[in-house]
Symmetry: D2
Subunit: 96 residues, 4 copies
Amino acid sequence: MTAKLLSAKEIEDLPQILPEWNVSKTCLVRQWRFSNFVEAFGFISQIALLAESMNHHPEFKNVYNRVDIELTTHDLGGISEKDVKLAVSINALKQE
Amino acid sequence: MTAKLLSAKEIEDLPQILPEWNVSKTCLVRQWRFSNFVEAFGFISQIALLAESMNHHPEFKNVYNRVDIELTTHDLGGISEKDVKLAVSINALKQE
Amino acid sequence: MTAKLLSAKEIEDLPQILPEWNVSKTCLVRQWRFSNFVEAFGFISQIALLAESMNHHPEFKNVYNRVDIELTTHDLGGISEKDVKLAVSINALKQE
Amino acid sequence: MTAKLLSAKEIEDLPQILPEWNVSKTCLVRQWRFSNFVEAFGFISQIALLAESMNHHPEFKNVYNRVDIELTTHDLGGISEKDVKLAVSINALKQE
């Protein structure tokens, strides 16, 4: 399934749809802090399942209780509908 | 670290400490139902970390949104302090 | 996506396609023994991703280094093409 | 359990013990490339278990088939025995 890059207007509107995410021209970024590694990794595992299921994989960084997720569509060099869809699914997970 | 089997009296008192678990002479059993597999697996991943960290591993069964955990101390043939400690840690996880 | 139950003839032929699996009329079963829980859970995590991605989830049991997988299509009450596909994907994972 | 920073001499000798890792004064770094995300995440899950079990957590980055691990002992501001021990355990995992 091919995805389309968002238009400049759509990117401008993203903060209303995804207020928890930082939006740049090329990616969506969000950070989490959990109580400990066990909670952080439970969250990472859920994101892994969502990502594989959508065949669209985030860049993530973790150390102990911190999880940083960056979403971009590498093939297209920017933010596409796939990134928005994955961000919405991640937002729907139970989180601290 | 060696563990000790609980006494008959201690097993009798378990339902007060662990009301969510079914107690038999040889094991502690608890079931969970989540909204979907993503949530169930996030929970399983957290239990996996707790178990490895304590070097005490539950028997678990999963299909889709269901997770069944059975705790016993195989070496001793019954419920030991390790099982109680792991059950308490599992109870402390965020759950549905 | 709807799946179809295998015919009696197709079930009869399964042991040639999936020699590692035990075949009954209603399910496919396979067991693994790993060196330790870390390896077993790495394997379980991979199966979790495959399953969510196919939206077809196995029943699995684990205790320490043992992993037991049972594949069936609950909606149809037997073995379908989905089970065969998932079994083939699991076979393709690196395993002990 | 308190850990000790490695001495300058011990850090100098690290490449012989851990030839697969890049060594700086403050951290150990290693990268992996897998066939796909499923394999990469199976590997990450195993490292998560090792890390929680040692109560010493790496910084890791992942996108699709790539896994980057950085080991350092934040409390001490450099490489300690804990980092070496975790690196050795990671090396012992089955890898691509």
